[in-house]
Structures are given as structure tokens and as C-alpha cells.
Symmetry: D2
Subunit: 348 residues, 4 copies
């Protein structure tokens, strides 16, 4: 019998589908339930046809906690829309016991009440609950994650920006002389599964535009993830790419004194030494190399004092379900790569 | 130690990359060499960046046969352009011994000399060698494949057409009253890795066209795969889709007497009973459900005597490398699904 | 002052946007009103941002008929959803007078009551009104269109299939020995402007599937357009392409006796002699060559008795707004190409 | 007879095709010759199939200067690869007389010898010839262009960056406190018509990457176009989008004191007052709104002292052929919009 029992709440969305896809290859995980309050009784593979012949059983209407009991490790993944995770947790908290929880929503990501309330005014801030969550940026907090029971899984854009800039801030923090500009490009799957005008195929195909310019919710999150002081200025603009999966972030900044390309490269290679999912590249990252995977590819360029960092990852992989499973691995004492060392399909 | 030693010849092409990708997840295969006469000494992941951190060692200039020796099962995969496989085999035949061979090219697919010479006039037909090859359409000839040492791996379009039409021909052969029309739509990766005008991104993006209308080389192959007599007429037209991976074939034909939808469905379900990679669908197959996998999804529709069969697969998976590995599994006595039961990434 | 006053009802949809785009270049048309009951008072270019600086005035809540009066020719284009055109016409019929009407919907396309009622059961058939409509396949009925006041503008898929097969049926009708199989591939804009799950970008990007297999509403229409008898059998399967604009139809059929390629070519060239929007091609049509235009490109291939016809057009151009304007030109005694001789942008 | 005789040299490339497409709608231009040294005698529409029925006559092997003579205005458009324009001009200079010249290549764009030699070391700098060229950024130098005989047509990326930043520099030059970061995203047509590995469809589809990071040749050009002093620092990174046409540039900078959104908007509206091809948008520009046109759409966002400018245009339109024709219009005393006021096709 496998050692980890896993249940997913919010079964019809992209997050659930992607978790299930990764679980197919995970050696230790048994999926004991997929809950959908909107489609109870329907086949899981009806909502996720690509999982046909893998998950043909029905969605549960509510989580059967008792099915988790036989497992040494018990996990619930909340793949609910923002706001609903918090409600679910409040309702079911008493039943959790030693069952661990990974929340894919934004409900518990921000730790400062004022920042949370300004960013997600529609989601009440509960300081007591929030204090028990660990922000799960795997490469940045692996030990803390390993000790935690509840994880607030990072947002996809914040993950890319944070992973791109962390080594720079670590090595050259006092050297930074200017604003950190994050230009993010993302596929359309980030908007979720539900049809909406702005994600209508004729609107997005062969098109590009910026959105939520200087007012996207992931900017406070990436600032928190990077531990920036108020003095360190950032600009963040996301753009919609005419493809479905993948994020590409380009970071621009200036240092006080010139650096060599090899120094920058060394800085990144050292910082991510031993981190299997971070691949430091000599040329630009691409979406192809990371789509469908938990990898995050990073490259740096330098010209005197000017630094550019490029970073690509799959918003549904390292930016969501992949990182959630990586966190689960850490929380179980497994190798963090367990079930996740799968290359992308490449030409796409 | 793993039980299968595998070598790939023709290492820089899409075929090799895709084989290597599948081998990452295969429990029994050790890749002992990837040969590239054009890029010896360069890193494998230099040609296939998405395999970075999986295959960072160099290409070999020539196949080191001795490296295969320690393994209980020894396999060579020829991923060379049409015409070059035959040359390679003639040169190295004496060294093969009990090493098994799977050829991804078209050089040994056609068994009738006249048909071969008309179809591939530039590739000499060697009847003695050809007679030792088994045409490796896995679902159609699993026992013969299991006993074979040399496999001619089917073409991608022929695989899709043959898998789509086989059950129909098996159950209703005498009932067929008209031509079998195969309308095939394929992604651009089928043309291989080398840049060419007709596959230039600005030419193919958001575009579609037919090519080699009524004169494509896979029509003789699919006729052979289906065992058609000269009396059974076929028409075959491939079209280029504005995407990279995936084949979708729509088959049109007429029967002498009307059939019910459920009879047709039964026919397909029975024919492929126990075949894990064939999924009979109730609605249209899609590319998303099969891209990156060894699955072939099939659906049927009927209106009186009129029958439509739809079939989708990944030209690089079930249409090439996936089927090659499925054949390898069969030739080793492994479960044919070994290392291949991976769902697609879905929304793409 | 321009000679044609034109009003559009149903202003926020793709049909209206495309009509307006063509009217920018039309030498004789003045757009006097664009009606939207859902967005009255909002800027036209708010719904169609690509028309910004061309149509920045507001939608009208209802059609101001008096604005049409000063013009020698008066046209109303109904760009409403199926079913609503009929309702609009019944309500406003008395006000039409000599104002001509072109209806982009399917409400008045089918002339046989039983066929209409089976195909569009939700739209009542009004024989008296229907009898005053002319089915506006421009190349097939230019003289009748020129004498008509009310036009039922053909559907996009039916237009492509009919234009592809007409010359064949005209020249070889008694020679046809088998079913006419129409394999249609279409972009996503055919489904209209409104977001829906099946047209969600993550669902359609890099994907393909068939829909309404053997039961699409354009099959009765194309049969009517081709004047087929019940004895002439057809099969029609549409597929969704991963792009926005364009239709590509491949027609398969068999003749009783073999034909040469040049005979077939001659047949098509003669049939469309003088028809500026039909371009007979020596190689496969493409989407690129027709997207954004009123052109329909056709090529033929033959192998003995087997014939393949390929046809491409823009579902929003020749398949909708372009043909509507071509019909308007005919109805005004203008050159049918007036305002429509614009090449596509090519590489897209 | 039309008043402008125009000849194009370098007839098979994207530049020539796009010029020809615009000339179809230009009321004053007669195309007297399209020269291709590589495909003399072949039909123009053979190289540009979308121009079929518009330009079916053959390419000329060499420019027949005498055909230009009857026209009041005579223009030669050089659509040759970088380096070849200069060679052509040196060879044919004596024959030019009062014939005007618009060069689409980079050969005469840079005015400072040292900058040119560092940027295009393979193209010799000829100061005497260069001094007779006017850099043709239409909105920035319309009067100078109108007086010029030889135009160096700006590069596509430089055009987008310069148009995006000019108003800011004009109004807030002394207020700029930081680096101007230009994050550019461009379609694949910018690389030209010739197939190459990096533009192979399977490589680019659904992919994204940066290239020539901090070392792209358009950075010196955009600095020159903006008239920047050495003290004003810039960073420029172009990225390849998975689509064919269109550029989207996002500019990041900081001012010394905060500005309001309306002040910024006013600044841009005033600066481009009366410029028909610049549309100041209230929301993000898109590619759809500009593809196939000569428009450049711009929007601004501000947060305290932080400013973001977004700009979209078609690299083949305003970024190449469209601007060339706009310059021709200016040089002839025509309205600069002549033949160019065509909206995009919108949903694409």
C-alpha cells in the first residue's frame, strides 16, 4: 500500500487536473478522493478528458475524511477559487487532525494583514489561521516547509519573479541601485478553466496585451517572497501570451558597480546548488523546455552595471501543482523530486 | 542494473529526442549510447534543450557495440532519415548478433518490391533483409512483433489510418460498398527537425493546406497495414495543421446496409478489448488528449449506411517513438505499457 | 454624397464588425446606423477596438429608419443570432418600404419547410416571407440576387462546400458514382463572439476536434445550394482548427470514368470564368491567402476516377460579411467587386 | 495615369510583398517593376501567393529605370538584406537622377560612424552617402522627410520603442531619474522570409524566448531616434512571440516626482495631436488592433513616480512597409495617410 493518501477539493478546475496528472507518476501517492460540489457523481475524466483511463471514477460530493485514515501521511489539496479555500478551511478545520493541507489559492499567502486587505479585500484576513500557514516557495524555505502542516502554495507569477530575483538580492542586495522591473508574459491557462470574454479563443489567438498594469495582486506577493523592504522599489507588468501554458519573466535592474557575466552566473549557480528543479541556462530559457514540468529555467545577462534575469516555468507546474507536490514531498521527508523528474515534451 | 541496454543512432533528430524522453520514465531501459555523426562530442541536451539535466553527456561518433553487451536485452533504435537506415544496416549488420533493431524510417516498411520501388524509388529494395523485418503496428501484430528481432516501425499517418479502419474492415469487410476516404490533418513536427521553407513559422502559423494530394507515401503503407485488396479503393489526403504535434484522421465510408451507432461502437470496443493505448471515445477525439503520449483515441459516428471514424494520436508518440518502445516492450516480454502509461498534459 | 445608406442591426457581434471593416474601403457606402439593443450609447469601437478611429460614434438603441431616406440605395444588414432575425423582420417589415435587406442568419436560408423545420426546429418557418428571400450565393445566382430585395446570406461552411463542388456537379453530374464527402476545417470565429467553454483559449489552442459529426446544420443548406437530389448522397463533418479565421474544405468523390487533371482544371476554370473572387489554384489553397478577404481559392486533384477538390475562404469574409457586400453590390448594379478587391495580409 | 511610379528591388522578401499589398489600395501609385535577381521571370504571385490575381506578372531581372520616367514622382524601394542595399546604391547611384529612394535595410540608419561600425561591422560606412539620407521616423521628422530624396526607413523594433518613449522624453526629460527599460516582444516575421532553424515552426509554436539580450542592433538605433545623450541609460531586450506579426513594447522608467495618470495621458495625446496613425488608448494596446496596418497604438500607466508605456504595431506595417509608404506620401506632398487608412482584420 502506498504511504500517502491524497484528496483534492475543487476537482473540476485546472489545478485538480494537473495534480492528478502528476499523481499518475508519483510512487507514493494514492488519490483517495476528488471532491466537486458542482459535479458530484460525474466521472473525473469527464471534466479532464486527457485523464481518461486514469481517473474514470466519479467525483465525491464531499470529502470522505475516513478514506485518508489508513495512510501514514494524509494530504488535502485545496484547488478552490480564491476566497472559497478560507471558507472550506473554517468549516472543516476540526476534522483535519494531523492531515496536512496545501492550499493552491491566494487566501493565506500574504502574511501582513494590511497588505492582504488591500490586495484581497474580498477575502477576510484571519491572523490566527494565517500564522499557521507556511508560504511554500520550495527552494526558499524547504526546511520550514518540511516542518509545516499547512502550506499556502505560491502564485505562478510570484514564483517566477521570486525565483528569478532571489540570488541577485542575496548576493548584491546592497549593490542594487535602481528599481527591479519585472516584465511577465503568461499563457492563458493562468486565468483558469472557466470561459470568459477575455480568454475567448478568437480574442487571444495570435494576440498579446498587458493587463492589471502596476496593479496585479502578485506584486505584493513577490515582494513578500523576496523579503523586500519598502525602500526597494519594484514594477510589475504581466502580459497575456498567445499560448496556453508557461510563464516567461524578464527582470531588469541596475547595480552600483559593474559585474562580469561569469560572476553573475556563479552567483546563480551557487545559490541554486543542489536544487534539481532550477536549471541555470547559458542561453535564454524557453517555454518549451519547462511546459508540463516542475522545472524553472533561469539565465542572466550583464552589461556593465546592467543586469537582466530571464526565467521560465509552467504556471500549472512549478507555478502551481508541481510545486504543491514538491512541497508535499518535503513535508513527508521524501526526496523533493519524487514523482516530478519528468522532462517536458519539447517541440510543442 | 537495468535489463535493457538501448542505443540510438541519429541522435539529433526529433525521433531520438522523443525516444530519450520516454526512456527517462522507462523502468528497464538504460541508454548506453546516442550516436550522431554530425555532432559527435556535443552534449545531447545541446540538441534537445528540454532534456537538459537528463542527458547532458555527449553524442558518440559511432556506436560502441560493446556497451550493449552487459545487458540481457540489447536494442538499437535507428532514427535516421529515410534511405540512411538501410545503409547503416548493411554496414553494421555483422555486428548485430542478437541485438534487436527498431527502425523508425520507411526503408523496410513496404513488403512488396514493386510497391516499394514505386513509392521510395531512391531507396533500393533488399528482399532478403526486408523479409526479416516485421511491420510493427503493435495492436495488430503483437505476437509476431514479440518473436521478431528487426522491426520496421510504422509511419505516423499510416498508424493513425490503420488503427482507425482496422475494426471496420475486420467486422464489415464484405459490407463495405465504397471508397475508404482518409482525411488526415497533421502537425508540423512530422516534417522533422530540419528547417525548410514549407515549415517556416511565418508560413505555417494560423495556416492550413493540403499536400501530396492523392500521392503521399503513406497510402501504400496504410493499404498494406490494412491488408486491402486492389479492389478496395482508398483516397488519402494529408493536411498541415497550424500546430506542432498530433494527427487527426477522419475516415469516410459507406456500408451496404445500415448499422446502428451502438453496433459500430461495440465493434470497436471488442476489437480493441484489452489494448490499453486505444481509447474508444463517445465524443470526438482531440489532439490535447494524446499529445505527448502513446495513446490513440478513436470515435465512430454512423448515419444509416454512412460511417465516419475519427482518430487522434501524437505523430511523435504512438506515431513514432512511443510505438517503437511499445514494440520493444513486446519484444522483451514486458508488459507492452511499461514506461508508457503517461497521460498528456491536457490543456496545451 | 455616397449613394448607399447602410444600417447594421446586431452591432456588437463579429458579423457587424466585419461589415464595418469592409465598409471603410467601400467607395459608395455610408454607414448611417449601427444598432445594438444590448449596448446602446456605447462606442462602436468599444466593442470592436480594431475599428478605433474609424467608428468611434455610439451604437443606436433602435434603427432610425429616417436616416436611410436620403440615399438612393438603402440597405439593412441583419447581423443577429439565428431566430432573432425573423423576429426583427416581423416587427419592422412595414417600415422597410424599398429598403433592401441582407440577413446574415440562417432564418431564411432553407426553402423547403420540412427541411427547415427539421434543421432549425426552434425557428418558425414562414413560407410567405421565405418566398421573398433569395439565397445569396453570389457566384451561383448573381442575376437573381440583382433583382432581389431580401437576401438570405449563405452560411460559411455551406458557401465553401457549394463553391467547391458546383463545377463538378455541373460538368460531371451523371458521372458521379459515389458519395460526396465534405471534410471541413474551420477557425473558431465561426462560433461567434460570445465566450463559451468549447471556445475557451486553453481548450482550443494547439487542439483539433470534430463536432456535429453527420448532423451539422450546414449539410441541408449545402445540399440545397448544390441542388442535389435525394439520390445524391453526401457526408459532411466539420472540424475545429486551432486558429481564428478561415475554412478549408476537402471534397472526395469518385466518377464513373477516369478524368485527366487538365480536364478537371479546365472544368473549374470555365465554370468560374470572370468570377473575380474565385481563384483556381495549381497547388493547394491555404488559409493565409484568403483570410481577411472575399476570395475563395480552389484546387483540384485527380487520380483515375478519383477526384479531390480543395477550397479555402474566410468564414467572416466570403463566408459572411464579404459575400453580403458582394450581394449588396449586385443588388445596386455596382461592379460586384466594389470595395472588396483587397488581398489578404499573407504571412499571418 | 497615376502620378507615382514605384519600383521595388528585392522582390521575393516579406518587405516587397508587404509594399505590394499596400500599393493595391494606394490611389496614386503605379508599380512599374519588381526586381528579383534570384527569381527573374517568375511570377510575383509565385513568391507571394496571397497577391495572386493582383500581381501575376513576372519579376524583372534588373531595374528598368526608363519605366519610371513617365511619372511625375519616381520611387525606388530597396527591400534588400542588410549590406546589399549599400552595394546596390553604389552601383546604380548615377542613374537615380531625381528618382527618390526609400531603403528598408539598416545600411543608412545610423548617423555616427563609430556607432555604425560597432553595430554593423560588416557594412562599410560611407559618410558622404549617409549624410544625404534622412532617418524616416514619420511622426518625428515629417518636414525633414518631405524635403528629402533618400530615406533610411527605421527598423521595426526601434520604431516601436521610439514612438513609445518620445512624448515622455519630450515632456519629462529632466524628470527622468532612471534607466529606460524596453521590453520588446515580436512576431517571427521580423526574421524575414528565409527558413532558419530558430524560426522552424516546431521550434517557435507555443514557445517564447529572449534573444540578443542587451546586444540587439536596434538599441543604438532607438537611442539615436530618441536623441538620447550618453548619460541617459537604456536597456533593451527583444523576445520572440509565438505568432507571426506584431510588436509589443513595454517601457519602464521612473521620474523624479510623481505624475498623475491624466497628466501622462495628456502628454501623449498632445504630442501626437493630429497624427492619424498613433492611437492613444485607455487600455492596453493589442496586436490584433494593429496587425496588417500602419497604426501604432500606445497606452500609459503611472503609479507615483513610476511610469509604464505600452506600444503595439505591425513590424511589417508601421515597422516597415507601411511607414515607408507614409514617408513616400510625405515626400510627394500627399496626405500622409493616403492609401494607408485601413483597419486591421481584428479577431485573428
Amino acid at each position: 500500500m502506498k504511504t500517502i493518501g491524497a484528496a483534492i477539493v475543487g476537482g473540476t478546475g485546472f489545478g485538480a487536473g494537473e495534480l492528478l496528472r502528476y499523481f499518475v507518476s508519483h510512487p507514493a501517492v494514492e488519490v483517495v478522493s476528488v471532491v466537486s460540489s458542482s459535479s458530484p457523481g460525474e466521472r473525473i475524466s469527464g471534466s479532464h478528458p486527457y485523464l481518461s483511463s486514469f481517473y474514470d471514477r466519479p467525483f465525491d460530493a464531499a470529502l470522505p475524511f475516513e478514506r485518508l485514515e489508513p495512510y501514514r501521511e494524509r494530504f488535502i489539496f485545496l484547488a478552490l477559487p480564491h476566497g472559497q479555500s478560507g471558507l472550506w478551511l473554517k468549516e472543516h478545520r476540526a476534522k483535519l487532525g494531523r492531515t496536512k493541507l496545501i492550499d493552491l489559492s491566494a487566501d493565506y499567502r500574504l502574511s501582513v494583514q494590511a497588505v492582504h486587505e488591500q490586495t484581497y479585500p474580498e477575502v477576510p484576513f484571519d491572523g490566527e489561521i494565517r500564522s499557521q500557514f507556511c508560504y511554500g516557495l520550495s527552494e526558499a524555505a524547504s526546511e520550514q516547509i518540511a516542518r509545516s502542516h499547512w502550506i499556502a502554495n505560491p502564485g505562478c507569477l510570484a514564483t517566477a519573479c521570486a525565483l528569478a530575483a532571489k540570488p541577485l538580492l542575496s548576493a548584491f542586495s546592497s549593490e542594487l541601485s535602481g528599481t527591479l522591473c519585472f516584465d511577465a508574459k503568461t499563457g492563458t491557462s493562468g486565468a483558469g478553466r472557466k470561459a470568459q470574454d477575455s480568454m475567448h479563443h478568437p480574442t487571444r489567438h495570435a494576440n498579446m496585451e498587458a493587463y492589471k498594469v502596476l496593479c496585479h495582486r502578485h506584486e505584493p506577493e513577490l515582494r513578500q517572497a523576496l523579503g523586500l523592504s519598502a525602500a526597494q522599489r519594484t514594477m510589475f507588468v504581466p502580459h497575456l501570451l498567445p499560448c496556453t501554458r508557461g510563464i516567461f519573466v524578464t527582470v531588469y535592474t541596475e547595480l552600483k558597480s559593474p559585474q562580469s557575466a561569469s560572476d553573475l552566473l556563479d552567483c546563480y549557480q551557487r545559490f541554486y546548488q543542489g536544487k534539481r528543479f532550477i536549471r541555470i541556462r547559458e542561453t535564454s530559457p524557453t517555454l518549451h523546455d519547462v511546459v508540463g514540468t516542475n522545472f524553472c529555467d533561469i539565465a542572466v545577462a550583464v552589461r556593465g552595471t546592467q543586469v537582466v534575469v530571464m526565467c521560465s516555468l509552467d504556471n500549472m507546474g512549478k507555478g502551481m501543482a508541481g510545486q504543491a507536490i514538491q512541497n508535499m514531498n518535503l513535508m513527508c521527508g521524501l526526496d523533493e523530486t519524487s514523482g516530478l523528474l519528468i522532462p517536458s515534451v519539447g517541440p510543442l
